[in-house]
């Protein structure tokens, strides 16, 4: 297959996620980063960001996205921000850059193997642990950490009856009242992959008998808890919980003592990027403390950088018992089997 062809094919899943479904960490509009797809932290998938206009002589600007925490914000739009100094000229307004953002490390590793990323070692990468970066460095880097626990609506489920641990989700009282993410979710795969050795395959067989419903985005999942259509979310995305709580939704989040599975949202520049310099500027900004703080404030995601504060009102990473896959290559190999099995659990296959 021609390079451009399979790169496009490989990217398709994320592009479709972005453009049509909002992606795994989708927030707000679902059109997300439309103009700005991939680079846009709002979308949870792939796309492109719009670079800032050329500053006039003597001015400096960054290509950093402007963030909004409005419930209906469209996510970042690139614009000049008088902050850090960048000693290069900027491409004109509307310049498209292609930075892939995926929460599915299986996809990321495969995409790297197929030559989908271009290597760029940002100076900011020095602040990231080796585990959070590609080998060799520069192809992709963790941009945030997302974790999945259990969420419920205390108005519809008394705290005494609410699940405290993963095993409690098998309670027959919760049958037909649980929702999860679809099988193309990296976080859901992370939950499956980390809990399977702890709880056993039998757990998931029984979980399937609870007849969970699968949705593309956490907005649908939490929305169904709020309006009473479901009782519990299994693998509830924590950032979604913080967002809904900030809007006044009646929700509770459980960190089971076993731990909360976590995966990364990973960023890298696409090999066919028509404007690689602009993409590099974007990565510099995004991986910097300023970019990471902007991400935490806008999308309530936890930064892997230790010098960036956790989103307001959230539990810091250091206080969570995170279950993170140790062998990402094995995680990638498990992807296809997970997709089939999860489809069966949610009723999409026999």
């Amino acid at each position: 297959m021609r390079k451009s062809g399979w790169v496009a094919a490989a990217g398709l899943g994320s592009l479709l996620l972005l453009t049509a479904c909002g992606g795994s960490s989708t927030s707000n509009t679902g059109l997300g980063s439309t103009t700005a797809a991939t680079a846009a932290p709002s979308t949870g998938a792939a796309g492109s960001a719009t670079a800032a206009p050329s500053p006039t002589v003597g001015q400096t600007a960054t290509t950093g996205p402007t963030h909004s925490s409005s419930p209906h914000a469209t996510g970042p739009t690139a614009g000049p921000q008088p902050s850090s100094k960048v000693g290069v000229s900027f491409p004109p307004v509307g310049t498209t850059i292609m930075v892939v953002q995926k929460s599915d490390l299986g996809f990321v590793l495969d995409f790297q193997k197929r030559g989908g990323y271009v290597q760029y070692v940002s100076p900011e990468m020095a602040a990231y642990k080796p585990d959070y970066k590609s080998q060799p460095e520069g192809f992709w880097t963790w941009g945030s950490v997302i974790m999945g626990g259990i969420a419920y609506n205390p108005k519809n489920l008394a705290a005494a009856d609410a699940p405290k641990k993963w095993e409690d989700l098998l309670d027959p009282k919760l049958k037909d009242g649980i929702n999860v993410k679809v099988s193309n979710s990296g976080l859901q795969h992370g939950v499956w992959y980390m809990l399977k050795p702890i709880l056993g395959m039998d757990y998931f067989k029984k979980f399937g008998e609870q007849k969970p419903r699968a949705f593309d985005s956490y907005v649908q999942q939490y929305g169904r808890l709020v309006d009473g259509q479901d009782k519990v979310i299994m693998g509830a995305q924590y950032s979604g919980y913080i967002e809904f709580i900030a809007k006044g939704a009646p929700l509770a989040f459980v960190f089971p003592e076993t731990g909360v599975p976590a995966v990364s949202e990973t960023y890298g520049i696409v090999a066919d990027d028509p404007h690689p310099n602009a993409a590099q500027l974007y990565m510099d900004w995004f991986l910097s403390p300023i970019g990471q703080q902007a991400l935490a404030e806008a999308l309530l995601l936890h930064s892997p950088r230790t010098d960036v504060a956790a989103p307001a009102g959230s539990v810091p990473l250091k206080d969570m018992k995170l279950l993170i896959p140790a062998d990402w290559n094995d995680f990638e190999k498990d992807r296809a089997a997970f997709a089939k099995e999860w489809d069966r659990i949610v009723g999409a296959r026999r």
Binding site: M1, R2, S4, G5, W6, A8, A9, L12, G13, L15, L16, L18, A20, C21, G22, T26, S27, N28, T29, G30, L31, G32, S33, T34, T35, A36, A37, T38, S48, H72, T74, T77, T96, D104, F107, D110, V182, S183, N184, K211, R213, F215, D216, S217, V219, Q220, G223, D227, G228, Q229, R335, A336, A339, K340, D343, V346, G347, A348, R349, R350
Partner: protein, 568 residues
């Protein structure tokens, strides 16, 4: 004289041949090639992203029976239920509006077209708001009145079929009404004279006479239901009900994308639809409409007395359920911060419209859809006129093949055709994937049957002698088309333009696979918003789409008042 005729004929024949050949090649390339790619991918049992496939086999087809049998069963159950409901709706409305003296018949007939403007996507979103379990307006009212549990649940087989039937009911109505209009009323009158009641006349005379038309409509609607995507996506997934189209959609979203499974399911669906439509064409071609005789007749509707007002109410009920209620529910939802039907709890706001209109992507998507609609309809109608002329007026060998080719996309579900185009254009070394150009090509291709069918009716009404006069007077083929045929076709062309324009702006099935970050269109964007941004904003977007289409059409009707008057 002989010399002059021979000289005049030679270039005419060449022009026709050249244009026909060019069109045949282009249409063949657009219609057949993507399907060839799809067949290849359905047999790919190696790396799903390899092209050409590394290994061939029928594993993907066998997997349909092993893993997706429940999906197949769901698809058939819903399609059968929806077809039965749509035919009942269509037959009832057609009978009322063609065979009875219901008051305001002409206006009611116009109202029956309204669901076509609404689209199944908007209808599905609206009915999710109206009849969703627990949070749906009906269930909120039920609970408020002290009721327990859910009174209605649209996330069920019946619910999905109901929404599909409401919007396909219009198609059934148009098809059955056409059959009823061509029926000699003397046959019904004979039955009445012999003492049969109105009901008995309807059941024993009218129904058997229009049965071929009803059967044809049933086959056509069933094929449409099998390939339906919007309602199954919006209402099926929350109810754990997957059909073939939603399973195809899911397969391509996963990583690694299961293109083999998606292609095999798509082709299986295509084969069934192709069979149904071939059967439909045979039923129609068999010419069982023996009621169309050489004897002149004038439709004489049955006098229904006071019952006419009951029938009038039935028509209004359909408009209420398919148009008024969904629009009202969407307006009510879009004006709230959190959707509720309990007025004391409602917080009204215009923020959703403000947000929707302020979103660059929404504006871009709406603009792109309008631009594509305008462009595809304008260019497409011109090409389709030539196609229709070649098929029904020329004497060219192989014109039957042209007809077959242009009607072919009707048998391919939109979603499947979108997938075929996606796979084809990812692998053809012309970089138009992810651009509006590919969407334009896709729209043109999938609109071919609609445009050709609409224009064919008009072309066949034009007496050949008018064109022959031009030719006898020495006009070449191009000159004759420009000065005689096209001016006579103007009203029909405008009608086809309007239909194609609307169909493009509301297109979802093919678009979902073909739009990219820089080539967004509105219908898939609404689906995306539904998945990720909440009901209120989605309702605002759906209404913006609906009213933009209506406004565009109103402006167009205003600008072309002289011509459009002939359409009404």
């Amino acid at each position: 004289m002989t010399l002059l005729t021979a000289e005049a004929l030679r270039p005419r024949r060449n022009w026709q041949a050249i244009i026909t050949l060019a069109i045949l090649l282009v249409v063949g390339f657009l219609v057949i090639l993507p399907m060839v790619f799809l067949v290849g991918e359905s047999l790919n049992i190696g790396d799903p992203m390899s092209f050409p496939p590394e290994a061939y086999g029928i594993k993907n087809y066998l997997a349909i029976l092993e893993e997706d049998i429940n999906v197949l069963i769901n698809t058939v159950i819903i399609a059968v239920m929806a077809t039965v409901m749509a035919i009942v709706i269509g037959f009832t409305l057609a009978w009322i509006l063609t065979r009875t003296n219901v008051p305001g018949r002409d206006k009611l007939e116009r109202l029956m077209e309204l669901p076509y403007y609404m689209t199944p996507l908007v209808g599905a979103l609206a009915w999710a708001v109206i009849a969703g379990p627990k949070s749906g307006f009906v269930n909120q009212l039920w609970k408020g009145a002290g009721g327990g549990g859910d009174l209605v649940d649209v996330y069920t087989y019946f619910g999905i079929a109901w929404v599909m039937a409401l919007f396909e009911g219009t198609v059934a109505f148009v098809m059955i009404a056409a059959s009823m209009k061509s029926m000699d009323p003397a046959l019904e009158e004979s039955a009445r004279v012999m003492g049969a009641s109105k009901l008995r006349t309807t059941l024993t005379v009218t129904l058997p006479l229009v049965m071929p038309g009803v059967l044809g409509a049933s086959l056509f609607v069933f094929a449409e239901m099998l390939g339906s995507f919007a309602a199954a996506l919006v209402l099926g997934i929350p109810g754990r009900i997957y059909v073939i189209t939603t399973a195809i959609w899911d397969s391509t979203l996963s990583y690694p994308p299961d293109y083999g499974r998606a292609s095999a399911m798509g082709l299986a669906l295509f084969v069934v639809m192709f069979g149904m439509l071939t059967f439909y064409r045979r039923v129609i071609a068999r010419g069982s409409f023996a009621t169309i005789t050489g004897k002149a007749f004038r439709p004489r509707p049955m006098d229904m007395g006071r019952m006419a007002w009951v029938l009038f109410s039935v028509c209004l009920l359909y408009v209420l359920l398919a148009v008024v209620l969904p629009i009202a529910a969407l307006v009510f939802t879009s004006l709230q911060r959190f959707a509720t039907v309990i007025l004391s709890q409602a917080e009204f706001t215009l923020a959703n419209y403000q947000t929707a209109l302020s979103l660059g992507p929404v504006r871009t998507a709406m603009g792109n859809s309008l631009m594509l609609g305008f462009g595809v309809a304008s260019v497409g109608v011109l090409v389709m006129v030539i196609l229709v002329w070649i098929i029904y007026r020329s004497q060219l060998v192989g014109r039957g093949a042209v007809e077959y080719l242009v009607m072919f996309p009707q048998a391919v579900p939109r979603l499947v055709f979108g997938l075929a185009l996606l796979w084809a254009w990812l692998n053809i070394p012309i970089p138009i994937y992810g651009t509006l150009w590919l969407l334009a090509l896709a729209y043109f291709t999938v609109m071919l049957p609609l445009g050709v069918r609409t224009l064919a009716g008009v072309v066949l009404q034009i007496d050949k002698s008018l064109e022959e006069c031009a030719r006898v007077c020495g006009a070449g083929w191009v000159y004759q088309m420009r000065t005689v045929t096209l001016p006579l076709l103007k009203p029909g062309m405008l009608a086809a333009w309007l239909l194609i324009f609307m169909a493009c702006v509301r297109e979802l099935g093919a678009s979902v696979f073909l739009m990219g970050p820089n080539a967004k269109v509105i219908a898939p964007s609404i689906v995306a918003a539904f998945a990720s941004s909440g009901t209120e904003l989605t309702a605002a977007m759906a209404l913006i789409q609906t009213f933009t289409v209506v406004a565009a059409l109103a402006i167009l009707f205003r600008l072309t008042r002289g011509v459009t008057r002939e359409l009404t």
